[in-house]
């Protein structure tokens, strides 16, 4: 049974979030943390799909965009309450994932990748072209901030608290999920679809469920993003961003909830530190993806632990035995 170690992690998470909020006073860092939080939401969701269920999505930026634009349009243009708009975003993204998932999830591997990629591109084009609704390439501005009981989340620090509390809840829910009946069935269908079916798991239905579930995370992240920036433009939701998300999943570690935080954190902070990223962003992301896949297929943390382990064995001249 896991409770003690488990509890400690969540305690650590809560304390760390609280300590930062209490002592840090530079808006720049809060802004950075807010993007890390939003990216982590996306990456955890994608990790459930890619890392746990073994189903690729190369169009996840589209669900992020659907969430962001549904929130943006409903609040800025129609004056709907932001929280209601957020829920509407979830409905729109969930429905889109459901409708796309039905044909796409019958496909495997590369084909599923191509289908989701195509979907992502279509959404990107719609966001650009439907300027009456979306404001076109120049974007949609005037999105209000979220507020709760009279408190508006309109400073980086307040947003930070909101985003990271939501993130904490989502991380906990995701950790629960992967160790539940349905979570095990999801991991099982990844390891062996036939074996899972032979035990009564409706693998197609379950793939569809986790695809929709994962799109909901992206949509939530999108809504938070829209209300954080108070502005959205299509360029944030293109194919490149989908690839960045996959890179974050792979770097943090497939099938790792906490790794998602690490992957998203690293690849959000690095471009801020290294200006080379601005000119060669996609080259660098591509290189990271390749290097990690080849040398650390289990992701950064577990990969490095594995490397140390095998070094130690070699030094001791021993063989790895089970």
């Amino acid at each position: 049974m896991t409770p003690p170690r488990f509890l400690n992690r969540w305690l650590l998470f809560a304390v760390a979030v609280g300590v930062i909020a209490a002592f840090m006073d530079q808006d720049y860092y809060y802004t950075l943390l807010n993007f890390i939080g939003i990216h982590t939401l996306l990456v955890v969701g994608l990790n459930l799909l890619l890392g746990y269920a073994g189903q690729i999505s190369l169009g996840h930026a589209a669900f992020f965009g659907l969430g962001a634009y549904t929130s943006g349009i409903l609040t800025a243009t129609c004056g709907v309450d932001p929280w209601l708009a957020l829920v509407a975003g979830l409905a729109v993204s969930g429905l889109a994932a459901f409708l796309i998932g039905i044909p796409a999830l019958k496909l495997r591997g590369y084909y599923l990748g191509m289908a989701t990629l195509g979907f992502g591109i279509i959404i990107y084009i719609i966001l650009n072209e439907a300027d009456g609704l979306t404001g076109g390439p120049s974007g949609l501005s005037g999105i209000p901030s979220l507020s709760l009981a009279g408190l508006a989340f309109n400073t980086p620090r307040r947003l930070y608290l909101l985003i990271w509390i939501i993130l904490g809840i989502i991380l906990a829910m995701s950790a629960n999920l992967v160790n539940s009946r349905t979570g095990r069935a999801i991991r099982a269908l990844h390891d062996g679809e036939a074996a899972a079916e032979s035990l009564g798991v409706d693998t197609f239905r379950l793939k569809l469920k986790i695809f929709v579930w994962s799109a909901l995370y992206a949509s939530l992240a999108g809504s938070l993003y829209a209300h954080t920036l108070n502005f959205v433009a299509p360029s944030s939701f293109g194919f490149m961003f989908s690839i960045k998300l996959v890179t974050m999943v792979v770097l943090g570690g497939m099938a790792s909830i906490w790794g998602s935080l690490l992957g998203a954190g690293t690849l959000t902070v690095l471009p801020e530190l290294l200006t080379v990223f601005h000119d060669f962003e996609m080259v660098i992301f591509g290189a990271i993806l390749m290097v990690v896949m080849i040398f650390l297929p289990r992701g950064l943390v577990r990969g490095i632990l594995d490397l140390c382990e095998s070094r130690r064995y070699k030094r001791q001249g021993g063989r790895i035995s089970f």
Binding site: M173, S174, N176, L177, S180, R181, T182, G183, R184, A185, R187, A188, H190, D191, G192, A194, A195, A196, E197, S198, L199, G200, V201, D202, T203, K209, I210, W213, A255, F322
Partner: protein, 261 residues
């Protein structure tokens, strides 16, 4: 074939399947009585695994009917058939390699539990209760096959003999009405085969109906109440072990193979 319908758990009625020009299963009919251990034997490529795949929904027969517990199941999706109570193992062991031994068996409880995705994420009190029960039943199945002390190990790290046991435990955890074992003794040493034999006999004592594909004739003769013999997709004999052993057609099919151990 005159099947006594009222006393048959599983009945195949003129089941056929061809892969392109290859007739893998041709007009096969036989029945399995409740509580019996029945073996399906035959040379390599006779169509035994294909027959299992037809019964478990992984393949759809081109002709014929498969009746399980009074209902036609041919052509139904595999998970539906599994939910009705047919569990199986695979000729090439198929475990969930990235999961622990216990988790593998817990998946076996899938058809008997209900918590969905949202319940899993939110951990309602009843979700936790169900999880506890799943864990307890899975442990029971592991204890039954003697793997309880390995519950927390990775399934992938087990030696083949124990992998086969784990696969059986996983199937048993689903509390099946009918258990299908596809060559459970292949790759096992003498001691392990002996343990497998005891296990099958113990399951029979408990009243479980088992259908078994096996090349190990020693084991088959020990455990089987009835034997069906396939050759080139056709059923060439069906009856009690002693009659099968003397059947000239069976002996001819096995000519040159030393199967009378």
């Amino acid at each position: 074939m005159g099947l006594k319908q009222e006393n048959i758990l599983l009945a195949l009625d003129n089941v056929s399947l061809a892969f392109g020009g290859l007739q893998a299963v041709e007009q096969v009919s036989f029945g399995v009585a409740p509580g019996a251990v029945k073996a399906v034997i035959g040379p390599n490529g006779a169509g035994k695994t294909t027959l299992f795949n037809l019964m478990t929904g992984f393949l759809t027969p081109q002709a014929g009917r498969i009746v399980f517990a009074g209902e036609e199941i041919q052509g139904r999706p595999a998970h539906r058939i599994a939910r009705r109570g047919i569990a199986r193992t695979f000729q090439l062991v198929q475990l969930f390699d990235h999961m622990t031994v216990l988790e593998n068996v817990m998946v076996g409880r899938h058809r008997l539990s209900h918590s969905g995705l949202l319940a899993g994420a939110l951990q309602f009190p009843w979700t936790r209760r169900e999880e506890k029960e799943i864990r307890a039943k899975a442990m029971e199945a592991l204890e039954f096959v003697g793997l309880a002390d390995r519950a927390r190990q990775s399934a992938a790290a087990l030696p083949l003999g124990l992998k086969r046991m784990l696969e059986i435990a996983r199937a048993l955890a689903s509390a099946p009405t009918l258990l299908l074992l596809d060559e459970p003794a292949s790759g096992l040493d003498a001691v392990e085969t002996e343990r497998l034999q005891d296990l099958i006999l113990e399951l029979r004592r408990q009243g479980l109906t088992t259908l078994l594909v096996e090349h190990d004739m020693g084991l088959t003769m020990e455990v089987a109440d009835e034997i069906a013999v396939l050759n080139y997709g056709k059923l060439i004999a069906d009856g009690p072990p002693r009659a099968i052993q003397k059947n000239p057609e069976v002996i001819a099919a096995y000519l040159g193979t030393d199967w009378q151990t």
